[in-house]
């Protein structure tokens, strides 16, 4: 039995400890927003936050995630959408959409930790693969998201 805290909820799951976190989220907890793309930590479709940092869940044994806060795309929004989700909608970013959960988890971490990311910051952080080529729109949406987040801070 492994105890996981995902999106603020605690689950006790009967699963082998070497099972990748990705498959526990998808098959056991029905959190299918996190995607399988390569299985070897190359594409980033499986990115979630573990202890607040982006992590590729396809190569992370679930045992390594026990006891830490896990956030998936389903838990990214609070009362309102996260700034990156709002900006992604405004800038019409997703095409097929399959990689976007992972992209958004990386983008959210960037915006949460960098009030004004430069293009170089974006290049360095956003290393997930998108075969639809939404990169130019993700870049402009990231700048927009950072501005939305700054506005929200100023209003607070």
């Amino acid at each position: 039995m492994i105890t996981l805290t995902v999106n603020g909820k605690t689950h006790t799951i009967d699963v082998e400890p070497d099972t990748p976190l990705l498959w526990v989220l998808r098959d056991h907890l029905d959190l299918t927003g996190t995607k399988f793309g390569c299985g070897i930590a190359q594409c980033g479709a499986c990115t979630v936050h573990l202890g607040g940092r982006p992590l590729r869940s396809c190569v992370t044994p679930v045992s390594a995630a026990a006891g830490q806060a896990i956030t998936t795309i389903e838990g990214l929004a609070g009362d309102t959408l996260h700034a990156v989700q709002q900006a992604w909608i405004e800038h019409d970013v997703p095409q097929c959409g399959y990689c976007q959960s992972g992209q958004l988890m990386v983008a959210a971490h960037l915006v949460d930790n960098n009030a004004n990311p430069s293009d170089a910051d974006i290049d360095k952080a956003m290393i997930n693969i998108c075969r639809c080529g939404t990169y130019p729109r993700m870049r402009s949406a990231l700048h927009r998201a950072a501005a939305l987040a700054r506005d929200a801070m100023a209003d607070a």
């Binding site: 098959d27 299985g39 479709a45 019409d92 997703p94 693969i129 990169y135």
Partner: protein, 723 residues
């Protein structure tokens, strides 16, 4: 087919317990998520069905059925726009859902074109979708006219209401829907033409986007059916090989594994969860009979294709006498090009979920062709097509990969072996790649002759290309010519008096299939790169040379000039950077691009900007068109820079993203899209036409920096150090 069962739970006992636990009624209720409203296949929309294409609920929400597959190209927005243009509904009250392939089978093909490909969604279904919207609008007006006892011609429609201005009355569509559904029109209304549109041509955000930023959009891989088991599948790594023997014991020893099934050219491990199935699969050491292609090599195939170029081929297109005029030409240049086999690498590995009940079969997957899967299910399971329900999901990328039903056929065979237990079959990335089908290998030769003034007088082209259609639809291959192999060559647009376009139809053991932009992806590269070689031989600027040979094609000239102008063609560039230009017509659209490229002295290539001009005639949604241009440029750029699927010892070398480098954020160029629309009655495609010009525009720029002509893709195989 053999099955190996885990002990102590026999397959029979397992099946029994599954059925007992979940009963037989699960199928129509098998929605895996609480937010089922976001599932594309939800169906049974609340409200009144006006026609097979749309329903209207009491609050005037309109649900429009989409018979094309949403794989990122935007049909879940563009198709509803075509209906809504005529319906005059409130766009904020429009929802989209998939049309049912089962219904189309039962109702005489009511959804017309259900396969998505060939950049055809808009241009092949626009008229009947507009007609569906117009017809519904007129029936709603007729219902209001009857209610109010007024002449229908005194009514107008706007934003989901019918208005009778003379009396100040109006009624919402939701109120009129039931009455409208009972009305038959004496004659179908005319549909609007370019210039009369209210909605078409307006940039709109996509309807599917909100569900794709919170994880709620359902792809095939996300489907969960009550009582479902999971299967991991693998096939012989060499095409045409087979399983010689398999000891299932190591897999059956893995916790959760229930069965090992041998099926077609491979085997599947069945378990309670995917990871258990995968672990079981990885524990096995299958003994493959690799068959007759165990030594197949793409290097050897390429060498053979190139040898064919020494011989005359079948003539695909001829003008004048190219041979005689090459003989008498003042100057002749010649160059050989080639492009490799190439995997699609859609982000979502292929998968398929099947549930077989006594009276119906349900299949969930993301497919570009639900009808082909429906047909495959009927054939493999021996069921009537009317009882097969294919629930299309959002596709995690298509690019042609998902128009082939190969993966569904395997899943159906596995499901058949399992009987009534629903199963989700998922391929690993590596298995998806090696059991997939590839862009054809192609080799091309060009020869051009010039007169003393530098004017081109003759062009000879020979290509040797692995034929897609010879294997898939041999009846359309006439005289050794596969049109999908010679597209972009036989219709080359340049005004040269003597032209011979010849072809050698090739086949190898490698399975080939349609890959985004098909023949134009290699042919556009080779032709447009060679045109730059011709420009140099003629002593002309690449833009001016093309302009001089396109004077009979005003639409191409217009598009070429727009790209050049928007990119400030010829502007001073920093050392180590240059512009390259290319133009190509495919799928009914013309696309010109100027690529601005930097090459470091150590030979590293960086594409900084791609300026695109596109003439797709008219537009439905200019925003999604710009997105498709961006998508095509980046997909084409990945292929141009690094894309290759090498075959060694009968096996694909590059199977996962560790060896298939693709463009990431840091390498993505800035992309501009400009419209050079010819308008009128012309409607071109948009999912593919912006891909072919990218590779040649890039290599043409690289030449101007490095002096190196790149005639073989991918670019990364060439040493580009300079200076």
């Amino acid at each position: 087919m053999k099955t190996h069962e885990a002990l102590p739970l026999s397959r029979r006992a397992f099946v029994k317990s599954t059925v007992a636990a979940s009963g037989g009624l699960m199928l129509t209720l098998a929605l895996p998520r609480a937010d089922a409203a976001l599932n594309p296949w939800t169906g049974d929309a609340a409200g009144t069905e006006i026609s097979a294409w749309l329903t209207i609920d009491p609050n005037s929400q309109v649900t429009i059925r989409v018979a094309q597959s949403e794989m990122g190209e935007g049909v879940f927005t563009a198709m509803p726009m075509l209906v809504a243009e005529e319906l005059d509904c409130d766009w904020s009250q429009v929802k989209a859902e998939y049309a049912s392939a089962n219904r189309s089978v039962r109702e005489n093909g009511v959804y017309r074109r259900m396969g998505t490909g060939g950049s055809g969604a808009v241009r092949r279904s626009r008229e009947y979708l507009q007609q569906a919207g117009a017809s519904a609008r007129e029936r709603l007006k007729a219902a209001a006219a009857a209610r109010w006892d007024v002449d229908v011609n005194t009514l107008r429609t706007d934003k989901g209401r019918v208005f009778h201005d003379a009396s100040g009355r109006s009624a919402a569509y939701g109120v009129l829907a039931a009455e409208a559904a009972a009305i038959t029109l004496a004659e179908e209304p005319a549909i609007r033409k370019a210039g009369e549109f209210k909605l078409l041509g307006t940039p709109l955000n996509r309807l599917d986007v909100p569900s794709k930023v919170d994880g709620s959009a359902t792809f095939g891989i996300d489907v969960k059916v009550p009582g479902m088991v999971y299967a991991a599948y693998d096939a012989c790594p060499v095409w045409g090989g087979a399983l010689a023997s398999l000891d299932p014991a190591p897999a059956l020893a893995v916790k959760g594994v229930k069965q090992v099934i041998e099926v077609e050219d491979g085997f599947a491990v069945i378990a309670d969860s995917y990871w258990q199935a995968r672990k079981g699969l990885d524990a096995l050491a299958p003994n493959w009979d690799l068959g007759e292609h165990a030594n197949a090599s793409s290097d050897a195939m390429r060498a053979e294709f190139k040898t064919d170029l020494d011989r005359r081929g079948v003539v695909a297109h001829e003008e004048g006498d190219a041979y005689a005029n090459l003989e008498s030409a003042e100057t002749v240049i010649e160059a050989d090009y080639d492009a490799p086999y190439l995997a699609h690498l859609a982000m979502e590995p292929v998968n398929c979920t099947v549930a077989i009940a006594e009276d119906r079969v349900d299949v969930w997957t993301g497919t570009q062709n639900p009808e082909s899967i429906l047909g495959a299910a009927a054939e493999i399971l021996g069921r009537a097509p009317e009882t097969i329900h294919v629930h299309n999901c959002f596709l995690g990328g298509g690019f042609g990969r998902r128009s082939m039903p190969d993966f569904a056929r395997r899943a159906l065979a596995i499901a058949k072996a399992l009987g009534p237990t629903p199963v989700k079959v998922l391929w690993s990335r590596e298995a998806d790649t090696r059991t997939g089908h590839f862009r054809p290998l192609a080799a091309l030769r060009f020869k051009a002759g010039f007169d003393a003034s530098g004017k081109p007088v003759a062009l000879l082209n020979r290509s040797a290309t692995h034929s897609i259609l010879a294997g898939f639809r041999p009846e359309v291959v006439q005289n050794g010519l596969d049109g999908s192999s010679t597209e972009g060559l036989e219709n080359q647009p340049y005004d040269i008096a003597h032209v011979s376009i010849e072809h050698h139809l090739k086949r190898t053991p490698v399975p080939v299939w349609f890959w985004r932009s098909v023949g134009s992806s290699q042919n556009g590269f080779a032709l447009e790169a060679f045109i730059d070689e011709m420009a140099e031989a003629a002593g002309q600027d690449p833009l001016a040379f093309r302009q001089g040979l396109l004077h009979k094609h005003p639409a191409m000239l217009n598009t070429l000039n727009m790209a050049a102008e928007k990119a400030s063609w010829g502007r001073p560039m920093a050392p180590g950077t240059a512009q390259g230009i290319a133009i190509h017509e495919s799928f009914g659209s013309i696309c010109a691009q100027v690529a601005e490229v930097a090459v470091t002295r150590s030979g590293e290539v960086r594409v900084e900007r791609v300026v695109t001009a596109i003439d797709c005639g008219n537009t439905v949604n200019p925003r999604t068109i710009a997105e498709q241009v961006e998508s095509s440029v980046i997909y084409g750029l990945s292929a141009a820079l690094w894309g290759r699927s090498d075959i060694e010892n009968g096996q694909v070398v590059q199977q996962n993203f560790d060896r298939n480098r693709v463009v990431k954020m840091a390498e993505a160029p800035a992309i501009e899209t400009h419209f050079s629309l010819s308008g009128g009655e012309h409607w071109g495609g948009i999912g593919e036409p912006a891909l072919p010009p990218t590779a040649p525009a890039v290599v043409n720029a690289i030449y101007r920096i490095t002096g190196r002509r790149i005639r073989a893709l991918p670019i990364a195989q060439h040493d580009l150090r300079w200076g």
